[in-house]
């Protein structure tokens, strides 16, 4: 098993603490089946439109939306060679919580230094989903969303003021934590907004990994993705917490085949 990046510097009063969902992402991304899928898709030798003059395929860009503590992105950055079979990989993150952006930035940089990985960490951007990303630039998109069904998703307008404070109050910290788990109706309000952005965010060779829980009705979500047409596929590639035949959590891979 690959080591889990350290998050001991992260304040969990205002940033999501790595939990079963985070670890399911780590396990899935480093599983034998996913690493062989990713290695083949992003192999350094691949040619085609994504390659440079000497025929090696250009650097894959990994985006994690909602990095929180940064544990997932740091894991990918530190273990890129095992996951992708190459270490010229770029990592970039976003989160709506500015404290998470600062913390995750350190988590990723520390993990890279510690493992002497030669991947390149870009930045963590404080933003909503992938809205600030240049279209079709992302090769691997990862999202562990706020997925718990709740009466509503915390309001965003209230939010910029909290982000600019040096020390948020207790209520403000609760708001930040609510943003990390509260998914609104069926737990899908934030995830649905993100899924809409997938086709315009990822590249032709792009792949997205999205975590869903049983209440999100994963089978229906996958059907909806397949209905996008144009060869879009969605399959469950990792799961945990089997209860009475139900997977409590699962990771869905979203991608298109061929060139």
């Amino acid at each position: 098993m690959l080591p889990t990046p350290s998050t001991s510097h992260v304040c969990f009063d205002r940033i999501y603490e790595p939990a079963e969902d985070s670890f399911l992402l780590l396990d899935t991304l480093s599983s034998a089946s996913e690493t062989s899928f990713l290695k083949e898709r992003f192999s350094a030798q691949a040619d085609g439109q994504d390659s440079n003059a000497s025929g090696s395929s250009c650097t894959p860009l990994v985006l994690e939306i909602g990095v929180g503590s940064g544990v997932v992105l740091a894991f990918v950055a530190a273990n890129a060679k095992t996951i992708f079979g190459r270490d010229d990989v770029l990592t970039l993150g976003t989160d709506i919580n500015s404290f998470a952006c600062q913390a995750a930035s350190s988590t990723v940089q520390n993990a890279i230094n510690e493992t002497k990985s030669s991947t390149t960490f870009l930045d963590i951007v404080n933003g909503d989903l992938a809205s600030s990303l240049h279209p079709h630039s992302i090769d691997v998109l990862i999202f562990n969303p706020p997925y718990v069904p709740t009466p509503c998703v915390p309001s965003l307008p209230l939010h910029p003021n909290i982000n600019s404070k040096p020390t948020p109050t207790f209520e403000e910290e609760s708001h930040l934590l609510a943003l990390s788990y509260a998914g609104g109706a069926e737990g899908m309000e934030v995830t649905n907004r993100m899924l809409v952005q997938v086709p315009q965010t990822v590249s032709r060779r792009g792949v997205a990994y999205v975590l869903l829980c049983a209440q999100n009705k994963p089978e229906q979500v996958k059907e909806r993705i397949r209905d996008w047409g144009e060869g879009w596929k969605a399959e469950t590639v990792g799961s945990s917490g089997k209860q009475a035949g139900w997977e409590r959590l699962q990771i869905v891979r979203i991608w298109r085949d061929g060139e």
């Binding site: 000497s54 395929s57 860009l61 010229d88 933003g127 909503d128 240049h134 910029p160």
Partner: protein, 147 residues
């Protein structure tokens, strides 16, 4: 925030998505800092085809940094051969040829990966919206009426 990150960011507003002046964002009142990073020539080689060369050149000019070469460097120009004394050779008589990063590669590395915007703003060329950068983190959250 690294200069290379600007190669992948655009205005977050919906109405700017189809505008070709929303990319690249223009840094203004930028306070820069240098954060040293390890050099990886392989990475530079494979990132070249992804760079929006003209747009990045513009950004570099706006920041008052030394200009990029007028055209994308060739892969060969990123390394050069150098003669070096062979290791474990006390006589110093034996030399070996090694491949080292060229000045072109070193300059590109310094500019794209080590030069960071610490404070300042990023301005959209289409709608004029200003995104603040504080402590190296760019804030792309939009006020409610602009979403």
């Amino acid at each position: 925030m690294k200069i290379l990150t600007l190669n992948f960011l655009t205005c977050a507003r919906k109405l700017c998505k189809s505008s070709n002046t929303a990319f690249p964002l223009h840094p203004q009142d930028a306070e820069l800092e240098i954060v040293e990073q390890d050099m990886n020539v392989e990475f530079l080689r494979n990132i070249l085809p992804r760079l929006m060369w003209e747009e990045l050149s513009g950004v570099v000019g706006e920041l008052g940094l030394p200009a990029l070469p007028p055209t994308v460097p060739t892969l060969e120009s990123l390394t050069e051969k150098k003669l070096k004394a062979a290791e474990n050779d006390p006589t110093g008589m034996n030399v070996v040829e090694v491949e080292v990063p060229s000045q072109v590669a070193l300059d590109l590395h310094r500019l794209l990966l080590e030069t960071c915007v610490k404070e300042g703003k990023l301005v959209c060329g289409s709608c004029g919206h200003e995104y603040q950068v504080r402590e190296g983190i760019a804030n792309f959250l939009l006020p409610g009426h602009l979403v």
